[in-house]
Amino acid sequence: MTEHPMEHPVRSEEKFVMTERQKFWSLLLVALGAAGIVGSYFLYHGHEGHVRYWSALLTVAVFFQGIAMASCFFQAATYVAYGGWHTVFKRVPEAIGMFMPVTAFLLLLVLALPNLMYDHHPVYHWTDHEAVAHDPIMAGKTPYLNLPFFFIRFVFFVGVLIFLTYMMRKNSLLEDQHNDLRYYRSNLTYASLFLVFFALYISVTAWDWLMSIDTHWYSTMYGWYTFSSFWVTGVAVITLVVIFLKKQGYLSVVTESHLHDLGKLMFAFSIFWTYLTFCQFMLIWYANIPEETAYFRARYDRFMWLFYGIFLMNFLAPFLILMSRDAKRKMTVLTVAAIIIIVGHFADFYLMVYPGTVKTPQFGLIELCALVFYFGLFLYTTFAQLGKANLVPRHHPFLQESLHHST
């Protein structure tokens, strides 16, 4: 704390304006990606081609849905914990959270459309009635893994989460207009409800979207393992957007102290992810039961470089880069660490999907187009949402605490 934060008064009218160039480039990415996705549909023929096509879309859709959900979780968790440190940049997780309706709709398309287009979903073996009838293990799972219940779960829980996110955002914007504490109190209620539904649903997302790909296999660590991946990616994305805004000359009230705390979250949850991932692996490795090791056999045999690579990118790199205090306070170091974490966790989701569906490591046009499409959409939605309100919330009760935050 070398200088007093009150020496920079809040510019109460600081507003993010999306430049024409940003608008053009993000929409161009969306257009290119969408054209690529539609066009490459005709490139991937036959059953194998369809498996590849929908695996790519599912991986990217789940990854971005996770980022959006993690941002909403960030808001809800900080509300319930009476957190004040993040207030100066709380518009960023809010804006990313408003991406959730879009990602949820697209994910629903990826989950539902193939069921109508083919006789079963190419990614999910359990949607194939022929196969289920001849497979006692899959037949035993039908009370849970059946299409009507699958979509009821999705629509109900995602709908509730989107509704609660939308209400938190609405109250937060109203709070800017009227200096009234009741918006904050009402958000506390919405945030608490959000956490309850999120806690119930987050494991279900992992089982439904990812674990059911390997229908015969199950792991009790899987839900938390996927959540930790979502969460650490979400924090890395929030950090990158905050740094981007600072580089653009916005958010001058965000100091090294706020970045330090974001860095701490990235560091700590990278270790948390490693802990869960390793626990899941070690118990299966130790017990050495064929039904369980089949999952890792598929990953170890054909994806070995990626299998070790994710430990390098998601554990060793953030652990060593973000360990010291100075590193967490430098924007360049944080940017490098956040990019490694995001790439590493995308690889993690790739490794959850591809060995069970495509069987061999493949990265080509469809994966690239899906990523470009979602990246463009993410930039456009986030920037558009950031432009809708003051970048620094005006009447948030913890604003002063946040301005004086020092670590």
Binding site: M1, T2, F278, F281, M282, Y286, N288, R325, S406
Partner: protein, 177 residues
């Protein structure tokens, strides 16, 4: 026998301003004793950053290497036994023990190093300069050496009082306080 001059303050905001004021009069502050950590005081006093965490990192790294190499030696060379069909060198099985040994060593040695840095080892009792600096007062400490003249002492007292000290007193100590 060590000789100190102690200026006592009753507010940390006054204390922070007083440090600047005293430094502007070119007096060398020996130490500041406070009942709790005061934000921003380290920077004002120009204290160098603690190297305790750097030591912690290297102790941890050494412990990790020790644990892995010891287990490797035991299970491959000294007493090789096959457990559940696993190879002698079963690295995943070593990781939990390596982790525990690393954390245990890093935390224990950092605690011991911290106690030694604070002059607290078994049998050592530290007398405070003024017991009130452990509850509600903040003390700025000047060291008085044989070369300190009566005029210097008088000036120190004046500057302390001008800076807002509620009390100024001299203190003789047997050992490091």
């Amino acid at each position: 026998m060590k000789h100190y001059l102690l200026g006592l303050f009753d507010d940390e905001e006054v204390l922070l301003k007083a440090v600047d004021y005293i430094k502007s009069h070119h007096l060398r502050i020996h130490d500041v004793v406070t009942p709790f950590a005061v934000h921003g005081l380290d920077q004002k006093l120009g204290l160098r950053e603690s190297r305790l965490h750097v030591g912690g990192f290297w102790v941890g790294a050494a412990a990790a290497i020790t644990a892995v190499s010891f287990m490797t030696w035991v299970f491959t060379a000294n007493w090789p036994i096959i457990f559940g069909g696993k190879p002698y060198f079963s690295f995943p099985a070593f990781i939990p023990i390596t982790f525990e040994f690393t954390v245990l060593n890093a935390s224990f040695w950092m605690t011991f190093a911290f106690l030694v840095l604070c002059h607290l080892w078994p049998g050592r009792f530290r007398e405070s300069l003024d017991p009130r600096t452990t509850s509600h007062l903040f003390g700025v400490v000047f060291k008085i050496t044989p070369r300190t003249t009566e005029a210097d002492l008088q000036r120190m007292r004046e500057v302390l009082l001008q800076a807002g000290a509620v009390e100024v007193k001299e203190r003789m100590m047997e050992k490091h306080y």
